[in-house]
């Protein structure tokens, strides 16, 4: 039986498009200090530090080495994890495994990305092999555009529904002191007036490039309650890998069905006795690069029946004051420092359980929360958090 693992410290930066005022390391350090302050711990108490970012997005290789002191890993064990879009969740899984295995009683995980360095797309260029699919890929946004079209065609959702999801995200972001894009949108019509970027996705239908970091401190069961009286427990994690170009083999590559998400949530739900996710999960922080994808994810994670994700939007189920709030923080479409984005999902879900989310704290009591991550190669990482285990 593995040891229980709790989240005892949570810290993040105020995410922005540019952070001209700090170096990458200084920016990471802001989140590290915030997590330590939240747990009332000092860096010397932390036994190991694991970090995550998108390889070469800042134009440098191994940024964790450059930032060893500020990240807190100097003279300590730990390493950086890189699994594409899911990196910030993979590092959560890594920290969980290490503490769960009994190797450390206190470990820190840090996700970060400073995209104002400039050449995010140049880095994505190097993420796929030029020998396959050359020129026929439009990067993340083209894939999500095609997915949006499929969602529209097969589910009956209209652009108004996607606009409503965008509006919900902005409402949350405006209440969240750490969120990046706070647009103050007043109506769905404002979203529908935004120009098309890659049809049928509009500028407002897709996530921004943000700079920011997020740090979590994990504690073993025996240590957790000494750090804080009410820690948040990591009940379970699940990871499913996929091959990005495996179009046509073992599942539907259109994104309407994401095989890895089905497999991941089925395993996670089964192990944790979840038979009615809509009732048994109180809140979710999902990795939704676009508003269309959020509706798709409601269906993939069985929050509703197939083709009915947009109905949850019409009924307001996933609003902050709804029955099953999804991304009250504003989500990825408001804040996306990529290597930190999935870490923020876990952080936000944990804050909601603690009741410490601030302006965007949901009114209902949150006992069980789900955080998801997805990456370009269709990897899925899920984290299930609980108030008590």
């Amino acid at each position: 039986m593995p040891n229980r693992v709790a989240i005892v410290g949570i810290g993040q930066t105020r995410h922005r498009s540019t952070r001209r005022d700090v170096t990458l390391q200084e920016m990471i350090n802001e989140a590290v200090r915030a997590a330590l302050a939240d747990a009332d711990l000092r860096m010397k108490d932390i036994e190991a530090v694991f970090s995550s970012s998108m390889e070469t997005f800042e134009g440098i290789y191994l940024p964790d080495h450059v930032g060893a002191v500020e990240i807190g890993t100097y003279m300590k064990p730990g390493f950086k994890v890189g699994t594409g879009g899911t990196s910030g969740a993979s590092v959560v899984v890594e920290g969980f495994h290490m503490v769960s295995a009994g190797l450390y009683d206190l470990a820190m995980v840090v996700g970060f990305e400073k995209q104002d360095c400039g050449e995010t797309t140049a880095a994505i260029t190097a993420a796929t092999t030029p020998i396959w699919g050359k020129g026929a890929v439009t990067g993340a946004i083209g894939e999500f555009a095609k997915q949006a079209l499929s969602y529209m065609e097969t589910s009956g959702a209209r652009e108004e529904h996607a606009a409503q999801v965008r509006l919900k995200a902005d409402r949350g972001a405006c209440l969240n002191e750490y969120a990046h894009l706070k647009l103050g949108l007043k109506s769905a019509e404002e979203v529908l007036k935004s120009d098309y970027l890659v049809w049928p996705l509009r500028f407002l239908d897709f996530c921004p490039q943000s700079s920011g970091a997020c740090a979590l401190i994990f504690a073993s069961q025996q240590r957790a309650r000494k750090v804080r009286s009410k820690p948040v427990w990591i009940a379970d994690v699940e990871v499913v890998h996929q091959e990005p170009f495996w179009a046509g083999t073992f599942g539907d590559p259109t994104g309407r069905e994401t095989y890895s998400q089905h497999v991941a949530c089925e395993r996670l739900y089964k192990r944790n006795g979840i038979t009615h996710p809509r009732r048994e999960i109180d809140l979710a922080e999902l990795y939704e690069p676009s508003n269309w994808e959020e509706m798709n994810l409601y269906e993939h994670f069985h929050f509703c029946e197939k083709n009915e994700g947009w109905k949850m939007v019409e009924e307001g189920v996933t609003e902050i004051e709804g029955d099953l709030p999804v991304n009250p923080s504003g989500g990825v479409i408001a804040t996306n420092p990529i290597g930190a984005t999935p870490t923020i999902r876990v952080a936000e879900a944990a804050l909601q359980i603690r009741g410490d989310a601030g302006g965007h704290q949901v009114p209902k009591e949150v006992n069980t929360a789900l955080a998801s991550a997805l990456g370009g190669p269709n990897w899925t990482v899920l984290t299930l958090l609980k108030r008590s285990v």
């Binding site: 098309y196 046509g248 259109t254």
Partner: protein, 165 residues
């Protein structure tokens, strides 16, 4: 001489900009399996894939190991159809960066997910550039590049043109 700190807030730190001007000279091997696809496309204007010898699934891109069986897939080569049905499409309204070469591009040709008649999906471009004439379910056929221009795998297909049936 020491100066009193100015009451005025100091100027924000500067960014430094570094240009990387060296040309990149990377070489990628196409390997035994994808190499075969490159060869057939270049020499015969054909798309070929290997079929797993255990589960009989067509592997596309062709590969050495079958993901499902987790065993060596073998070299049972099959030719894929030149025709298919458009399942998804999108087109650029605003220029994007080319994800492979980092140049800004505004390709007028829509990007599509096409289900070939043998049940294999391929990501490729459509000849049709009029958004009003695009629809899910349209039938298309491969248009290959000229002999001298081929040698880039699936990019040897210029795009897929609309056909009646």
């Amino acid at each position: 001489m020491t100066q009193k700190p100015s009451a005025k807030k100091s100027k924000e730190p500067e960014y430094i900009t570094v240009n990387f001007n060296l040309p990149r000279r990377y070489r990628w091997s196409t390997g035994k399996y994808i190499g075969r696809t490159y060869q057939e496309a270049k020499e015969h204007k054909k798309l070929v894939a290997n079929r797993c010898r255990h589960c009989r699934e067509v592997l596309w891109p062709p590969m050495e190991v079958c993901g499902r069986c987790k065993l060596e897939a073998g070299e049972d080569w099959v030719e894929l159809s030149q025709r298919g049905t458009v399942k998804q499409y999108t087109y650029l309204v605003y220029p994007l960066w080319d994800p492979h070469y980092g140049e800004k591009f505004a390709n007028p040709h829509p990007n599509a997910m096409i289900l070939l008649d043998d049940g294999v999906y391929i990501r490729h471009f459509l000849e049709e550039t009029d958004p009003k004439k695009l629809q899910v379910g349209m039938r298309v056929e491969a248009v290959w590049k000229e002999d001298a221009e081929r040698g880039e795998g699936t990019a040897d297909i210029k795009y897929y043109r609309t056909i009646r049936a």
